[in-house]
Every structure is written in structure tokens, then in C-alpha cells.
């Protein structure tokens, strides 16, 4: 089953001679439960692509279909709500809310949706990610690896259709990076969770099910369409 699909996705900045083609006609399909790594050098357009997938930025042309829904047909407000239900984000710099404790950060997307968290499911995530003893801690008292695990838990908590991870190991040392990657891999399998991750680290990318390479706004490897 296709969970994510892009059709001729383009993002141009500027006009005329100075036009920068950040994305230049990307066609991609990702199946449910896949763990995909997008690699590319800096400036290749991979971050812009990820932002498009998450609906944070609007394309110049083309469509993004998440879970059967063309997301750019939604208004901003609807898009935000769609995002909190269907898409989980993991950022390089964790981006936890400093005034909320670990548990509150994890269930934040659910509470923003006005729902009560599914306790059993959240507990399962917490156990899988080994955060049980840290639930009442504030993010500043956690190590980088721990913070990233909280971020992953937060991304999982709303049972999204897809998790988008932007250089999730970018701020971590190599051992912690491998731990976090292992956890991503485990969650992908355990919760049948689709994960799209961008990284410039080939070694990390090797842990994914599938590698897509982007150069100059185009897919060079792994389009599979």
C-alpha cells in the first residue's frame, strides 16, 4: 500500500537568470512500513524535500499525497491539523518544549488535538525507547541521545502515517547515533511505522531499508516508480 506519493514536485526560488531550482520534478512513492533514507550533499535539496513532505512549505508545482490525501489542497489551518494527526517530526536539534517534562512532550501532539493519550500505546513506546525512568524530567536535564529518544517518542505517539526525520543523529556522537538508529529501526518494525529520514552520513543511511539519493533537486538513485 502506498502511503506517500509525490508527482513532479518542483520548488523554484527567484525568477529569470537567478532562479534556484531547489526541487526539480521529483516523483516518488513510499510504501507503508518502509524505512527510507534520503541522502545527498548539503544544498542538494533534501531538506526542502522533507519540508514539502511534511507540509511545512508549499511547492511551486506538483503534488504530495499522504495517506491518500493531496496535502496542498488543504488550507493552512487544515494542513496543521492534518500534520499533527498524520505526520511525526524528528529534528536534528530535538526541538523539545523546554517547559514541559518528558511525558508531556511525548503526548503533546495528542493533547494539541484535544484527545486523551492511549495510555497502553504510549507506555509501549516509552518502554521501547527506554524512557521510563525519565518521564518527569525536564528536557534540559537529559543528554542529547535521551532528548532525541523523547523526540522519536513524541513523533510516534500520535500514530502518524509517516515520520519525517531531519538529520536525527546530526548532533550526536557516533555511538549514540547508532543507538538512536537502532531504535528508529526497531520502532519501524515493531509499530509498522513508515519513516523517511534525511542524512548526509552514508553509514547511517545503510541502516535503512531503502536509500534515495538527491542531487541538484532531482532523484538520481532509488526512485523506483
Amino acid at each position: 500500500m502506498t502511503i506517500l506519493e509525490t508527482n513532479d514536485l518542483k520548488k523554484y526560488y527567484g525568477t529569470g537568470d537567478t532562479t534556484v531550482k531547489a526541487l526539480d520534478g521529483i516523483n516518488l512513492t513510499i510504501e507503508n512500513g518502509e524505512f527510507v533514507a534520503i541522502v545527498g550533499t548539503s544544498g542538494s535539496g533534501k531538506s526542502t524535500f522533507l519540508h514539502m513532505l511534511g507540509g511545512l512549505d508549499r511547492p511551486s508545482s506538483g503534488t504530495v499525497i499522504v495517506d491518500g490525501k493531496p496535502i496542498f489542497s488543504l488550507k493552512d489551518e487544515e494542513l496543521t491539523i492534518f500534520r499533527r494527526r498524520k505526520i511525526g517530526f524528528v529534528f536534528q536539534n530535538y526541538n523539545l518544549v523546554p517547559v514541559l517534562n518528558v511525558y508531556e512532550n511525548i503526548v503533546l501532539p495528542i493533547q494539541l488535538d484535544g484527545n486523551e493519550p492511549d495510555t497502553a500505546y504510549v507506555d509501549q513506546i516509552i518502554n521501547t525507547l527506554g524512557l521510563h525512568s525519565k518521564l518527569e524530567n525536564l528536557p534540559n536535564n537529559l543528554s542529547g541521545g535521551q532528548q532525541q529518544r523523547v523526540a522519536i517518542a513524541r513523533a510516534l505517539s500520535a500514530k502518524p502515517a509517516i515520520i519525517l526525520a531531519d538529520e536525527p543523529t546530526g548532533n550526536l556522537d557516533s555511538k549514540t547515533s547508532l543507538d538512536v538508529m537502532g531504535l528508529l529501526k526497531v520502532t519501524s518494525q515493531q509499530f509498522k511505522q513508515t519513516i523517511v529520514m534525511i542524512t548526509h552520513n552514508e553509514e547511517i543511511a545503510q541502516l535503512a531499508d531503502r536509500i534515495i539519493r538527491i542531487e541538484d533537486g532531482k532523484i538520481t538513485v532509488g526512485a523506483r516508480k
Partner: protein, 846 residues
């Protein structure tokens, strides 16, 4: 320590980082300007009021000279005039013992020669025409002219009757110039030229010590370099010039310093001092709350920059200097704005204060005194330096490594643990956000609360001014009529008594109910024999009897006497064998029983110099025994001549009139039917304006108006200060909210990316503002109540016309406004600052 000259580079750095902080600069300049406004208003108000009162006093004292010598000769004058301590000395010479023109019966006039210095110091420089030059030229004040019936015209002829050592001499003069009369000045001044003095030298040879004649006596006015310690300067001058300070010595010169300068007149008493110091402290604190907050926030935001500077070798001292330099630059922009605005606000408020003082008729002068500006500037700069000290230290002490990770809110969080499961709801998240920097939240709340508490205090004070207490002190009956001098505390006797025509005019008015006259005066002075007086010889006459005030009351005033002890038996009083002794009341209306001299039932002897002869030798010294029937209250403003005498007695008018040869009606008190009160007020206003201008009146209505004036003054001045302090509080809130929104831009982007909608974000910010407002409400209510009960109540107890009333409604009334502002301000700021897309803001941190 190595000294390095790094001034230039520090100046450059501080200038550059100043330019990078535009919104902070605007807010800081506003804050400094507002603080300067507060100081300047206070100083202008203070200095302006004291100065206006001082000038009024000086006018009453007859000039602003520091000291005068009296009745000296030309020889004496020449010996004294060149003394090095003297900055200026005027030559004021009396030219006759008095002016005997009948027009001057009610308002005396004097004929003088004043040199230019004398004219200036005596406020007698002609505003129209010119100074007298020819022998027959004179200048005078406008009231004297109108009494003489002389038109305000240069060259108008004036004939004066001079009393030269007892002999009347008529001389013709022409008018050379005039000036506007000062209403507080009760003696007419007629001034002629040096040529007149030279022409009448023989006549002006004065020998005051022998014949006590004033003709030709010189009373020079002396100005020293400053008004400090005038007494000893004057003594030094006299001793150095070869005169004695011993009154009995032959070479003694009569002298005195200007009482307008004596500190006792309006010296700063403890109450004023406390009020002044607490006002200054309040302003410093208000200023500190905002300026500290602004700089603290800005330093935290720039922490990475300071860390960077440290990494490349900038010392803590240099960083402190950098921040101080920015503060001073912002002060240079803010202070002048504040000084100007504050001066004009203060200037506008001074007349309100003066109106409430006993000098209400004086002109108000608020000149831009340099001390106002110097004082305010010093205080503002001090406030700014105190407020920026800690932020400066914080920037100076930062470790370069930590600085990189230093972001607002993540500051060494005291809490490691947070027990909550529902923080994700926007309303709860907002509360958690306020906890990011608890100290700042508290500062903002305190800053906002200050103006609310002040406002409440202002209204509490204005409501606590007790109309009844106030009125009962000043008026006992609906109306009191008397000669204008009486109201100037200058009733003497027949010369300025209440005219019978005025009394009968009033009695024939519709609505007149009941009235009665009060008789008194000093023309036939009363004395009493009192062996028990602890200080014989003071306020006593040649027989050892003590000066006393005796009043004869008729009708209404007699009935309205307030008995303190004994009996108010009118039949006994009418026999002429009984007398009532007056007892002083303190400010709160309680009798001062230790001021009485005779017990009820005791007999005493009353004397007076009965008769109408000029000299006391022509009079009879009477003696009459009375039994003290009881004690009654002296109501200074209704049943006395408004002067505090050592002994005061009350008699029925019939008895009193037997004691004196020529009874004088001091005043006449009466009541009217309520519905005729206003009509009577208008009638009296018109009558005293047009029919008998030297008569005047007071009424409950007039006093009630004065009272309302006092209340509105309290509200005006306090309200103005509250508004400015309120603006500072709101500015502080805006600054805290604005920086909080700006520094959290990235966090907001992240929240949006994980699904927080704009309305949710706005709700969260609105809630933060609301919590500030609610926090302020709780704190100000709590603090306002405590402050009101402890401080305001105490303060009201100190002033007699206050009865403390607890009120909190002014504060409660302002709270809805505060809550609306609290919610709206963050939303507006968010909308204004939120221009970038999510992606841009997310990237900002990377």
C-alpha cells in the same frame, strides 16, 4: 594589572551592538524618559511649590532681602555697606512718620525713598511709567492709586499729608509710574526720588534712639551671597562694623533676618520628609523594575555575543563597560525628553498645590530652575546605573563555553522535575511558560501592580478627606461676615470692624434665620491677673498682668459655644459676674486641657485699658472680678480673631460692651434656610464686590468648594503619577512579552510543525498575558489591601482632616482594563512579529 587603552574599540563594539537592538532601544528610551518624567515632575512640583510659597511669604515680609537693619543713620549705613560678606545693600529711607490722608485710614501707606537695589528687592519697580527722578515725582502701587482716586496716568497730581515728627505737612507730587499691587501686601508704598531726599536733608536728620521718630530713618535691606546661616552672617557684619549685639548698649543697631528665610516657616518637617523620600524611593524602584528588566532580557539574548567576545579575549570589565556605555547612550536620548515633559507636567500641577495652601491668592511662579533638571538627571542616571549593574555583571561573568548554549528560559533551571501530565494543553503550557523566568514574571507583575496600588491609595486618600471634619474646623454657621482684614488674621478694632450696614443688609435678606455678632479687638487691650503663670514677664504689661483676648458674643454665636466643662448658664452669664474661659482644640478637635489657666468656679480679675485716647496715659486701667462658669472651645475660624492668644475669654455681648468704651464688631455669624443658601452666597459675593468692597465673608459653601478643590488636587496629582507609573508597568509588560515572543520564534515554529495550530498558539499567548494580568490582580489586591490598612491608615491618622475609609473599588475597577490589555498585547505583538514562514524560523537556530 595591565592597563590597556581599549576605549576606542569598546566604544565601537557598544555602538554596533546598540544598533542591532532596535526594539530594545526604543523601549529603553521610553522607559528612561518616563522615569525622568516622574523625577522631574516631582522636583518641579516640590521646588515650584516651595518657591511660590517662599515668594508669597517674602512679599508679606516686604521683600526678598536676607536681612534688614532698622532706623539707622547715614553714618551707620556708610560703616556697614562695604562689608565683604554683603553682596548687595539697599538704601531705604523713610520720609515721614506716616501719611495722614483720610484715604489711608483702612489701608495704611508709607512714603519712602528707595535706591535701585531697594526697588528691586522690594518688588517695587514700576511696570508702567518710569522711576522717580525729579523732586516731586513719586511711584506707587495700583491699590494705593485707586484709594487716592488718582488715575493711572503719568503726571497725575497727588497731594500727600506727611506726618513729620507729629506735625502735618502737605506736599504736592506728580505720578511718575506704578506697579500692580500684591494682594498679600497690606500696606501702600509711595516712593519718591533722591532729589526729594537731597532737598529735605535737614528735615530728614533722624535720631530714632531719642525720639523714636521714623522720619528720615534708614532701613537698609541686605543680600548675602546665599541664604545659609543668615543670623550669624548678619551678626558678623554688625560686629565687624563696630556695633554691639547687646540691645542695651548705645552702639546697638536694630536688625533682623528675613523671616521668609527662616527654616521654621516652611521647613521640611518629618512628615514631608518621609513623603518626599518615599516618593523618590518609589520612583527609583519603578525605574529599576523596568530598566533592569530591559537590560537583563537584552543581555540574555546577546549572551552568545558576550561569550564570543570573551572567547576572543574581552575582559569582564570591558564587557561591563560596554553595557554601561549603551545604558548611558540610551539615557542621553531618553533623559532630555523626560526632563521637558516632566517639567511641563509639574508646572501644570503646581498651581493646584498652591491653591490648597494658605497663600491661595499669590501668583505662581515656576521658572525652569536648573536644580530641577540637575536633580532629576542625577536621579535618573543613578537609577539607570543601579538597574544595569546586575545585567552587566551577568554578561561579564558568563563562561565563554556556556554562553553558546545560553538561551532564555533554559537558564540553569532550578527545577529538574516537573510532575504533570497535562502540560500539552495551551492553557497549561502558557502557565509553564511564565515559569521560565520566575524572577522576570515577578518583576513585571510588581511593576504593573505599583501603579494600581498607587491609584488605589490616591483614591483612598481623596475619599478619606473628611468633609465634616474639614468644615467644622472652618465654619460653625452657614455664613460668617467680617472686614476683609479679619480673614487676613488682621482684625484690630473699630478701624476694621464689621459695618452695621452690612449686618442689616444681610438680616433683611430672604431666608435669614438667626444671627449674632462677635465683639473683640485690640484697641482697648485686656489683661488678666494670674499668679500661677509659669513665665511671668512674658506677654505681660507693666502691672504684671497677662494679655488676654476677650470676646463678646450675641445671639447665635453665644448659643453655638461648645461647652467642655462647667455650665453654659445664660442667666448667670447675663448677670455680668460670670465668664467662660476658652480652651484651645488640637487638630483633631480635642480640647487641650493643660492650656487652661482657671478652674471652673475660681474667681479671676480682668483688666483693660478702657478709653479711646491715643496714649495709654489717657486711659483708665480697669479691674473687674468674674467667676469662671466653665470652659468652652475656641473655634479659631469662627469665634476668635484667628490669632492664638495665651488667654481667651467669652462673655455675652451685653456684658462685654460695658467693659470697653468703644465696642467693635469683629464678625457676624448667621444661618439661613437651606434653600436660600445659594442665593445668600450670591448676594454676599455681589455685595462684597460692589457695595462694600472691604467686607468679606466665608460660608459652608465656599469651604465646601475649597474642600472639593483639595480632593480633586489629590486625585489630579496622584492620578497623573499613577498614569505614568502605569505606562511604565505596561511598557515593562510589552517588553517582556515582545522579547519572549521573539526569542521563542523557533519554538513556535517547532510547535507548529508538530501540529499546533495558529489559534492554539494565539490562545497560549493570550493565556500568558491573562496570567500576567491575573497575577497582577491577585498581587495588587493583596498588596493594595495590606498597604491601605497599614500605611495609608497610619498616614490618615497623622492628618486631622482625614478619616480613613477603606476602599478597593478603584483598583477593582481598573482590573478589567488590565485583563483586556493583558490578553490583547501579546496577540498584537505576535501578529506584528510573526512574518517569517515556519521553515525560515526552524532554520534560524541551525
Amino acid at each position: 594589572m595591565i592597563k590597556v587603552n581599549s576605549k576606542k574599540v569598546i566604544a565601537k563594539l557598544s555602538w554596533r551592538s546598540l544598533k542591532a537592538n532596535r526594539s530594545r532601544n526604543i523601549i529603553a528610551v521610553c522607559a528612561i524618559a518616563l522615569t525622568a518624567i516622574l523625577f522631574t515632575t516631582l522636583f518641579t512640583l516640590g521646588i515650584g511649590t516651595v518657591k511660590s510659597l517662599q515668594e508669597a511669604t517674602m512679599r508679606q515680609a516686604g521683600g526678598d532681602g536676607h536681612a534688614v537693619l532698622k532706623y539707622i543713620s547715614d553714618d551707620d549705613f556708610n560703616k556697614v555697606k562695604d562689608h565683604p560678606l554683603i553682596k548687595e545693600i539697599s538704601y531705604n529711607r523713610m520720609l515721614c512718620d506716616g501719611l495722614e490722608n483720610p484715604e489711608f485710614l483702612k489701608r495704611h501707606a508709607e512714603l519712602w525713598y528707595l535706591d535701585d537695589v531697594g526697588l528691586r528687592l522690594g518688588f517695587c519697580e514700576p511696570t508702567s511709567g518710569h522711576k522717580p527722578a525729579a523732586e516731586n515725582e513719586i511711584i506707587t502701587d495700583t491699590k494705593t492709586l485707586s484709594l487716592l482716586g488718582v488715575p493711572q496716568e503719568v503726571g497725575a497730581p497727588i497731594t500727600l499729608t506727611l506726618n513729620i515728627r507729629g506735625a502735618n505737612v502737605q506736599r504736592d507730587f506728580v505720578l511718575a509710574g506704578w506697579w500692580e499691587s500684591d494682594p498679600t501686601f497690606n500696606v501702600g508704598q509711595i516712593l519718591t526720588s533722591r532729589a526729594y531726599v537731597d532737598a529735605h536733608m535737614a528735615e530728614l536728620q533722624n535720631n530714632y534712639s531719642e525720639d523714636h521718630s521714623l522720619t528720615g530713618a534708614i532701613n537698609p535691606v541686605i543680600m548675602f551671597k546665599n541664604s545659609l546661616d543668615l543670623e550669624s552672617k548678619l551678626n558678623t557684619v554688625l560686629v565687624d562694623s563696630g556695633y554691639s549685639l547687646d540691645e542695651t548698649a548705645p552702639n546697638y543697631l536694630d536688625h533682623n533676618v528675613n523671616w521668609a528665610y527662616l527654616s521654621t516657616n516652611f521647613g521640611i518637617d518629618a512628615g514631608t520628609m518621609i513623603a518626599l523620600v518615599s516618593a523618590l524611593a518609589l520612583i527609583v524602584f519603578t525605574g529599576y523594575l523596568i530598566i533592569y528588566n530591559i537590560f537583563q532580557i537584552s543581555v540574555i539574548r546577546d549572551m552568545r555575543f558576550y561569550g564570543l567576545l570573551k572567547t576572543i579575549g574581552t575582559t569582564g570589565r570591558q564587557i561591563r563597560g560596554l553595557i554601561r556605555r549603551q545604558a548611558i547612550f540610551l539615557s542621553v536620548l531618553g533623559i532630555p525628553i523626560g526632563l521637558l515633559a516632566g517639567f511641563f507636567i509639574g508646572k501644570a500641577l503646581v498651581p493646584l498645590v498652591i491653591k490648597q495652601s494658605s497663600y491661595s491668592e499669590s501668583s505662581v511662579s515656576v521658572a525652569p530652575n536648573p536644580w530641577i533638571f540637575i536633580g532629576s538627571t542625577v536621579f535618573v542616571v543613578a537609577t539607570v546605573l543601579i538597574s544595569t549593574r546586575k545585567p552587566g555583571k551577568m554578561a561579564a561573568d558568563v563562561s565563554p563555553v556556556e554562553a553558546v548554549r545560553y538561551t532564555d528560559g533554559n537558564v540553569k533551571s532550578g527545577n529538574k522535575i516537573r510532575k504533570s501530565k497535562a502540560g500539552g494543553k495551551p492553557i497549561k503550557m502558557a502557565l509553564a511558560n511564565l515559569g521560565r523566568n520566575k524572577k522576570r514574571t515577578v518583576l513585571v507583575i510588581v511593576s504593573l501592580s505599583l501603579s494600581l496600588v498607587l491609584l488605589n491609595t490616591v483614591f483612598t486618600l481623596s475619599q478619606s478627606i473628611d468633609m465634616d471634619k474639614y468644615l467644622s474646623k472652618f465654619v460653625d454657621t452657614d455664613f460668617l461676615i467680617a472686614h476683609a482684614d479679619y480673614f487676613q488674621n488682621d482684625f484690630f478694632g473699630k478701624a476694621n470692624e464689621t459695618t452695621a450696614s452690612f449686618v442689616s443688609a444681610v438680616e433683611s435678606q430672604p431666608g435669614f434665620e438667626k444671627g449674632g455678632g462677635l465683639y473683640g479687638g485690640r484697641e482697648e487691650p485686656f489683661t488678666v491677673t494670674d499668679e500661677n503663670n509659669p513665665s511671668p514677664g512674658i506677654n505681660s504689661n507693666e502691672y504684671g498682668d497677662f494679655i488676654a483676648a476677650v470676646y463678646g458674643l450675641d445671639g447665635l454665636p453665644l448659643e453655638r459655644l461648645e461647652l467642655i466643662d462647667g455650665a453654659l448658664d445664660y442667666d448667670k452669664l447675663a448677670t455680668g459676674n460670670y465668664i467662660l474661659e476658652g480652651v484651645k482644640l488640637d487638630d483633631n478637635g480635642n480640647p487641650e486641657m493643660d492650656s487652661i489657666h482657671y478652674q471652673t468656679g475660681q474667681t479671676m480679675t480682668l483688666h483693660n485699658e478702657k478709653g479711646t485716647g491715643e496714649s495709654l496715659d489717657e486711659r483708665a486701667y480697669t479691674a473687674r472680678e468674674f467667676t469662671v462658669l466653665g470652659h468652652v472651645a475656641i473655634k479659631t475660624y469662627s469665634n476668635s480673631d484667628r490669632i492664638a492668644w495665651g488667654y481667651t475669654f467669652y462673655l455675652p455681648a451685653d456684658v462685654y460692651t460695658q467693659l470697653v468704651a468703644q465696642p467693635a464688631m469683629m464678625s457676624y455669624a448667621f444661618n439661613v434656610e437651606d434653600r436660600y443658601e445659594a442665593a445668600m452666597g450670591n448676594y454676599l459675593g455681589n455685595y462684597t464686590e460692589n457695595v462694600e468692597p472691604v467686607m468679606n465673608y466665608t460660608s459652608k459653601l465656599v469651604s465646601a468648594t475649597e474642600f472639593e478643590g483639595m480632593r480633586s488636587t489629590v486625585i489630579m496629582i496622584g492620578g497623573a503619577l499613577s498614569v505614568i507609573i502605569g505606562l511604565i508597568g505596561i511598557l515593562n509588560f510589552i517588553n517582556a512579552m515582545l522579547t519572549s515572543i521573539i526569542t521563542r520564534r523557533q519554538e513556535f515554529a517547532m510547535l507548529e510543525s508538530i501540529g499546533m495550530t495558529r489559534p492554539q498558539l494565539r490562545r497560549m499567548l493570550g493565556c500568558e498575558g491573562l496570567y500576567y494580568a491575573l497575577g497582577t490582580a491577585v498581587f495588587s489586591l493583596l498588596f493594595g489591601v495590606i498597604f491601605s490598612l497599614l500605611i495609608v491608615q497610619w498616614f490618615c491618622g497623622q492628618l486631622w482632616f482625614f478619616s480613613y475609609h477603606f476602599i478597593i473599588w478603584p483598583l477593582v475597577l481598573v482590573l478589567p482594563l488590565l485583563i483586556v490589555l493583558g490578553v490583547i498585547i501579546p496577540l498584537v505583538l505576535f501578529t506584528v512579529t510573526d512574518k517569517q514562514s515556519i521553515v525560515e524560523r526552524l532554520r534560524e537556530a541551525e
